[in-house]
């Protein structure tokens, strides 16, 4: 095998060109053209349209909600990852399985279920009224969308952090403690810095789907908070302007790849050869 210098990768090379590169090139082509009488003419109109305040606002809102969700996932997820990583081996693998378990159920179902929980006459409000409190009106608001995102993507934050935390050499922690560091210092100076790669892949794995989702916003947002994902989906399903839809997609891709590049600067283990995301 060695001698043939990776000949066996060539079939996949062809496959990936056909199914990964070419499709993206088609999208790129669409984004720079306009359909006039069944032929495509070069045009920058799609991008010009995209840069109007109206659409930039949509981008702004998507980024804002995705950022809030990512931070919330980090704040909620880090402690859980930490607590679980401190448990005995078999207990912690059970616990982490319990974190992953919900992901094996269809995410649309789980998101839909929130409708029944958050609705005006839903479970939470029925409960609040029973104990004599005033009901809350959360469904079809930004809060519901953020909640849906945090709910769906929290495991994506917990797992990479947990994976990094359990790999930390306990000798390092013991050494720090022996040298007089208290628990807060050990965490600040040893554990947290060592867990940064996990935090970074966690952030990536939450931020990316959050910024591009169109389902959570359409189910829990009631169709009034258009995010980038909805904008793209609308172009391809409802309105049929594939060129504009492609331009939005390319623009979103660039934003995501840029933020990824910035993040990976802080990520010690930015290798593309696997492991980091798994």
């Amino acid at each position: 095998m060695n001698k043939r210098k990776g000949l066996s990768a060539y079939p996949y090379l062809l496959w990936s060109i056909l199914f990964i590169v070419v499709p993206l090139l088609i999208v790129l082509f669409f984004s720079f053209t306009k359909k006039i009488d069944n032929s495509y003419v070069f045009s920058l109109e799609n991008y010009q349209k995209l840069l109007s305040t109206q659409y930039l606002k949509v981008f702004g809102r998507s980024l804002e909600l995705a950022l809030i969700s990512t931070v919330a996932c980090l704040i909620l997820g880090y402690p859980i990852a930490y607590i679980i990583s401190k448990k005995a081996t078999n207990k912690r693998s059970l616990l982490i399985m319990l974190i992953i378990l919900p992901m094996w159920m269809n995410f649309l179902l789980r998101t839909y279920s929130w409708l029944a929980i958050l609705g005006k006459n839903g479970i939470i409000n029925t409960f609040l009224i029973k104990i004599g409190l005033s009901p809350i009106d959360v469904l079809y608001t930004n809060t519901a969308v953020v909640l849906g995102m945090v709910y769906n993507f929290l495991p994506f934050m917990i797992i990479p952090i947990y994976t990094v935390l359990i790999k930390i050499d306990s000798d390092l922690i013991n050494a720090a403690a022996d040298l007089g560091a208290n628990r807060a210092t050990v965490f600040k100076k040893v554990i947290f810095p060592l867990s940064v790669p996990g935090v970074m892949s966690g952030i990536t794995m939450v931020f990316m789907p959050a910024v591009s989702t169109f389902i959570i916003s359409s189910l829990l947002g009631g169709g009034q908070f258009m995010l980038v994902g909805n904008l793209i989906e609308q172009q391809f399903t409802n309105i049929g302007d594939w060129n504009f839809g492609s331009a939005i997609s390319i623009f979103m891709m660039i934003i995501i790849l840029l933020s990824m590049a910035i993040l990976s600067r802080y990520d010690g283990d930015g290798s593309k050869e696997g492991g980091a995301l798994l």
């Binding site: 095998m1 060695n2 001698k3 210098k5 990776g6 066996s8 990768a9 079939p11 996949y12 990936s16 199914f19 990964i20 070419v22 499709p23 993206l24 088609i26 669409f30 109206q54 909620l76 859980i80 078999n90 693998s93 059970l94 399985m97 378990l101 094996w104 159920m105 269809n106 649309l108 179902l109 789980r110 998101t111 839909y112 279920s113 029944a116 929980i117 609705g119 005006k120 006459n121 479970i123 591009s212 389902i215 947002g221 009631g222 169709g223 009034q224 909805n230 904008l231 609308q234 391809f236 399903t237 409802n238 309105i239 049929g240 594939w242 593309k272 050869e273 696997g274 492991g275 798994l278």
Partner: protein, 619 residues
């Protein structure tokens, strides 16, 4: 201090797990709910479990999901493993390039991968359906396989292969005896990852399927918008129990041997192999079950029917299937526009679609529908003459009317004490956040146009602009823009006022007696939905047989009883009970109907509506 810390840690863990599991428990609880709606508890039942196994559509979607997951992850694992070995042996720029390309589907949002593949399939003129979905799943799975196999290859002792070759092993033998066993955990992990990704995928499947092929996610998505069927809750309960049982089983096995091991022994590998074994077992069981199910699914002829959501009595499909032996693939859509895009953009092979008046007009103009052979449609004689030769199909060559109705306001009499007779009430600040509007371009703008006294077919940019502005002004008062979800929400009393189609209104009023429907005095839309055969259908005769079947008076009556809309079928109308015949909601007086307009196809001027709509929605 210690105790306090311990308690707070416990509470925190409990809250997080509650957060993660609450929706699942809600689904489980509601799977035993007597009521169809997830809004209220109405008593214990297990009937949904029985209905689940009788629901052909869900079983079919489940079947597709698992077959696609199994085959795509198996193929991806083979291609991915071979590729990983190749990449591992590669050097230089090509290796880097390939790794970068491989990373694209991982980094790219689903939606971009989805539309990119959709564009490719359109370009290649592939028919959307099972094959395209499978290709898409393989494509997004391979990178995960490669990313889990590569690290294992790197962990192999560097000279181990050379040693084997020096000792006389052929490269093939070395691969089989050394490399593969070494990277086996990576391959398995990759397979599982690919399998999980495929099972859970919605977005990419959504954009790459067609021709009546759907998977569970797509099915759930289209249901979620009009109120999940309790059968789906039952299914998720079963799924959850299976996965949980599997997990507990695996863990029980794990814990016993672990206790004997010394602290330093690495347990994770044995965990993994046990787990994989259990998975392999589960998959084998799954496949066997599917083969059994699949055997029952074989029919000679299939008809792909693409209809609006919840728009047929499903019993009629079974009846037609057993009468004729023709199998029906039934797929649903939300709006005319979505159906049109699917037909226009995709190389789909639908045999029957159900466009509304204006959409049919457009499709006829664009040569998208076949002329019907009325010799095959003897039951056309039952259609009331006043519904024949409508403006959208003047010589009645292409279409057969399916249902008709109006648009109006449904309101909850417990929450609204004003008289509802005008569209203006939807702009009344008193009902702020209690109003639900259509999530549909033409319908929503039509309401605004009518309210301002314009025609709903206006192509005057000024008028459209004013309508747009009034909808933007109204936006803060609107609780949500919805299509089919409105039914569940209004039945549950979640909003005071909503715009609806008359047939839905009738269904909703049956479910909740507090609701009432009115066609506002400014006038409204009168619409017709028609059955047509798209160009390129390969089963035209069977499609005509089905259309004829639906025009049979008894069948048409059964259908309209179920759907609740108004039938254009004179013979079926005569069969209805008097109460329905006299119901103003379903069969309004001529005085009301005279004030209603039928949508016209606006040609290129539709762009004005699209732009206005986007501006409303992004505002």
């Amino acid at each position: 201090m210690k105790i306090l810390e311990k308690i707070s840690v416990r509470i925190y863990m409990f809250l997080i797990f509650l957060f993660l599991y609450a929706p699942i428990f809600a689904l489980i609880v509601f799977s035993f709910n007597e009521s169809k709606s997830m809004s209220a508890w109405q008593g214990f039942t297990t009937k949904w479990y029985v209905e689940l196994f009788q629901n052909d559509k869900i079983i079919r979607a489940l079947y597709n999901t698992v077959v696609i997951a199994l085959s795509s992850s198996a193929i991806a694992t083979v291609i991915g493993t071979i590729a990983a070995i190749g990449i591992f042996n590669m050097r230089g720029k090509l290796k880097n390039a390939l790794l970068n390309i491989n990373y694209l589907p991982v980094l790219n949002p689903d939606i971009v991968t989805g539309i990119a593949l959709m564009s490719l399939f359109v370009f290649l003129k592939l028919t959307f359906g099972f094959t395209t979905m499978l290709l898409a799943h393989i494509t997004f799975s391979i990178p995960y396989v490669i990313l889990s196999v590569l690290p294992k290859l790197k962990q192999m002792p560097p000279n181990i292969i050379d040693a084997a070759l020096d000792l006389g092993a052929t490269p093939g033998y070395a691969l089989r005896k050394i490399t593969l066993p070494q990277i086996q955990p990576g391959i398995l992990a990759g397979f599982l990852m690919a399998f999980t990704m495929s099972i859970d995928d919605f977005v990419i499947s959504f954009f790459t399927t067609g021709s009546g092929v759907s998977n569970l996610s797509i099915e759930i998505f289209s249901m979620a918008r009009r109120g999940i069927k309790p059968e789906i809750n039952a299914l998720s309960t079963l799924m959850f129990i299976t996965v949980l049982a599997l997990l507990l089983l695996v863990n029980k096995k794990d814990i016993a041997p672990n206790k004997k091991k010394t602290a330093k022994a690495k347990t994770s590998t044995s965990n993994n192999s046990n787990r994989s074994l259990a998975f392999a077992l589960a998959i084998v069981i799954g496949v066997t079950a599917l083969v059994v199910v699949g055997k029952n699914q074989k029919h000679q002829k299939t008809l792909n029917v693409f209809n609006v959501g919840d728009y047929i009595d499903k019993d009629l499909i079974s009846k037609f299937q057993s009468e004729t032996g023709i199998k029906i693939n039934y797929e649903e859509y939300d709006t005319n526009e979505i159906m049109y895009q699917k037909l226009k953009g995709g190389n789909s092979d639908y045999d029957i679609v159900v466009p509304s008046d204006y959409m049919l007009e457009k499709m006829i103009k664009e040569d998208m529908v076949e002329k019907l052979d009325f010799n095959n449609l003897p039951n056309f004689k039952y259609i009331d003459d006043k519904f024949k030769n409508q403006s959208y199909d003047p010589n009645n060559e292409y279409s057969v009317p399916y249902m008709w109705g109006t648009i109006g306001i449904i309101y909850n009499t417990k929450l609204v004490d004003d008289t509802v007779d005008s569209w203006n009430i939807l702009w009344d600040k008193k009902y702020s956040k209690q109003i639900m509007m259509f999530d549909s371009i033409r319908d929503t703008l039509a309401i605004a146009l009518k309210r301002l006294g314009y025609s709903m077919n206006s192509t005057n940019p000024d008028e459209i602009n004013k309508a747009k502005q009034s909808l933007i002004d109204q936006k803060p008062l609107v609780k949500a823009y919805v299509v089919d979800e409105v039914k569940d929400r209004m039945i549950g009393g979640e909003a005071a006022l909503a715009t609806v189609w008359s047939g839905d209104a009738i269904y909703m009023m049956e479910q909740n007696p507090d609701l009432s429907y009115v066609v506002p005095k400014e006038g409204s839309n009168k619409w017709f939905d028609t059955m047509v055969i798209p160009k390129g259908s390969e089963h035209k005769e069977e499609a005509e047989a089905f259309i004829n079947f639906l025009m049979d008076p008894d069948n048409a009556k059964q259908n309209v009883d179920y759907i609740g809309y108004s039938t254009p079928n004179k013979a079926a109308f005569d069969l209805l009970d008097d109460e329905t015949k006299e119901d103003e909601s379903a069969y309004p007086s001529d005085e009301t109907l005279d004030k209603c307009e039928v949508y016209k196809d606006l040609g290129n001027d539709l762009k004005l509506y699209d732009d206005a709509w986007l501006q409303i929605k992004t505002h």
